[in-house]
């Protein structure tokens, strides 16, 4: 049986690959262009690329509908900008509130990175946007390249439903210039200049800073896990 999942379309970017990725996971995505379309959804996906201000087109009515569905226990997955919007806000658009389902403010990766510049000038030798394949690490401890990831633990984070079966050090495809802080909702981190939250999860709220739809087997596993959560 396929589960109906609403894909929130607020005009930020291109939904074709997200739709394809969800379908491969057995999800039947329906594009939601109005808050009313969320009423029957068994799950909600908020995609998004571009500037935080793009979320301004998600008006009060959308916010109320999304928050009431989340409060009713409907699983919500935010992708990229869609995940950043789950936080309290972003320095990219000060004054434009996020959904505040996760704690903290998103910041420019340049801002985060330059906090380390005084320690070592080498640390700022990175480009923003952060674009390409990078590793997912547990939110605790510091794992560097070269470690035999598989020997530490079979799972990246056994507390996370979204990351079931995903190995520590798994690769995912990122494309962003702002990032979310590591906080209580963080279930995986990634390092580019600084370490940021790359996956968040709290109860029925999930977010990935990377694009599962473009992240090969890692992304397929995450969509399959989300589909499992939606069907429960």
């Amino acid at each position: 049986m396929s589960a109906t999942v609403a894909l929130v379309d607020y005009g930020a970017g291109n939904l074709t690959s997200v739709m394809r990725g969800l379908r491969r996971a057995g999800i039947d995505p329906v594009i939601a262009t109005s808050p009313a379309a969320l009423a029957d959804a068994a799950g909600i996906v908020v995609p998004g690329v571009g500037h935080f201000s793009a979320t301004a087109s998600i008006d009060d009515e959308w916010r109320k509908a999304l928050l009431s569905r989340v409060a009713a226990g409907v699983p919500l997955l935010g992708i990229c900008l869609g995940m950043q919007w789950l936080f309290e806000g972003s320095t990219e658009s000060p004054g434009l509130p996020g959904l505040a389902l996760a704690r903290g403010l998103c910041q420019s990766m340049n801002e985060i990175g330059t906090q380390f510049a005084e320690l070592s000038p080498d640390l700022i030798a990175f480009k923003v946007p952060h674009l390409g394949w990078n590793r997912l690490k547990p939110p605790w401890g510091c794992i560097e390249i070269g470690t035999q990831f598989g020997e530490l633990s079979p799972d990246l984070n056994s507390d996370s439903r979204l990351l079931a079966g995903v190995e520590p050090g798994a690769f995912a495809y990122f494309a962003h210039s702002f990032a979310a802080p590591v906080g209580p909702e963080t279930v995986a981190t990634t390092t580019h200049g600084a370490t940021f939250a790359s996956v968040i999860e709290r109860d029925n709220v999930f977010g990935t800073q990377f694009h599962p739809e473009l992240s090969s087997e890692t992304g397929a596993a995450i969509f399959a896990n989300f589909a499992r959560v939606v069907r429960r």
Binding site: T16, R24, G50, G132, N134, R135, H192
Partner: protein, 262 residues
């Protein structure tokens, strides 16, 4: 460790009238196979991204391209960039709707730089790639449009800075001098452009062997390297190339084969 971002290996499909072709110095094309079948193979082998360039010579060929994009995208769960013949936001929309994740613009961006900003504004900077074809003229790397046939008055580094300021999220930099020659990437050109911008630069043109990739990553400071013919004609396999680059100390995405043979 300032970043664990990997260097990318990108397989390119030059498609004309529905089939993959490859030439030397932008001329002399030979048939290399079915685009969807090749895309599926490269993705399974660990290509970090695919680029499809439409070099159709006819209107019919261009019309068939949307169908080709759809067939390729159906095979992929890694990013697909589509370029060639994108002249307007409408052309870009058709390619995105068919399954492209990024659009590369070249001649149209030279003629109408505002197109870069329009694509970035609608689809995000990460989806707006500007392809720069450059050729050395004395000590200056000059930009060419129309598949290397039309000289512009712009220098590559200056044009790269401008496209970044107009919202491009990535630069696909092709050396016309090296394209199809298998003599190695143009590391001097790549390093000059990569050092001038803060957005990623994909080096293209001249890949002939694995040491060329190591060179362009280390000396050319490329964020990604693209090749076509060495993959099509199976002289270099993507998994072996990435394993070797990893052993040279470059951060690469190494995936375990699904059949468990490893």
């Amino acid at each position: 460790m300032s970043s664990q971002l990997t260097r990318r290996v990108i397989a390119c499909l030059d498609v004309r009238d529905g089939v993959v072709v490859k030439g030397v110095n932008f001329e002399g094309l030979v048939n290399a196979g079915d685009p969807a079948a090749l895309a599926a193979r490269y993705a399974a082998e660990g290509a970090d991204e695919l680029v499809m360039l439409d070099i159709s010579a006819t209107i019919e060929g261009r019309r068939a391209m949307v169908d080709t994009i759809r067939r390729i995208a159906e095979q992929l769960s890694v990013p697909l960039t589509v370029g060639g013949g994108i002249r307007s936001l409408d052309d870009a929309r058709a390619a995105f709707d068919a399954g492209a994740d990024k659009i590369a613009v070249n001649s149209a961006a030279l003629a109408t730089p505002e197109l870069i900003t329009a694509i970035a504004g609608r689809y995000g900077s990460q989806a707006a790639v500007v392809a720069i074809d450059a050729k050395w003229d004395g000590g200056r790397a000059m930009v060419f449009g129309r598949s290397g046939t039309s000289a512009s008055a712009r220098e590559a580094v200056e044009w790269a800075r401008e496209v970044e300021s107009r919202g491009a999220g990535e630069i696909l930099l092709t050396s016309i001098d090296r394209d199809g020659t298998r003599q190695g990437f143009d590391c001097a050109l790549t390093a000059a452009v990569s050092g001038a911008v803060n957005i990623p630069v994909i080096a293209s043109g001249g890949a002939g062997g694995r040491d060329h990739f190591a060179d362009v990553f280390m000396r050319g400071h490329a964020d990604a390297a693209l090749a076509a013919s060495i993959f099509h004609f199976a002289d270099t396999s993507i998994p072996a190339l990435k394993q070797w680059l990893s052993l040279q100390g470059l951060p690469m995405r190494i995936t375990t084969p699904k059949d468990g043979a490893c």
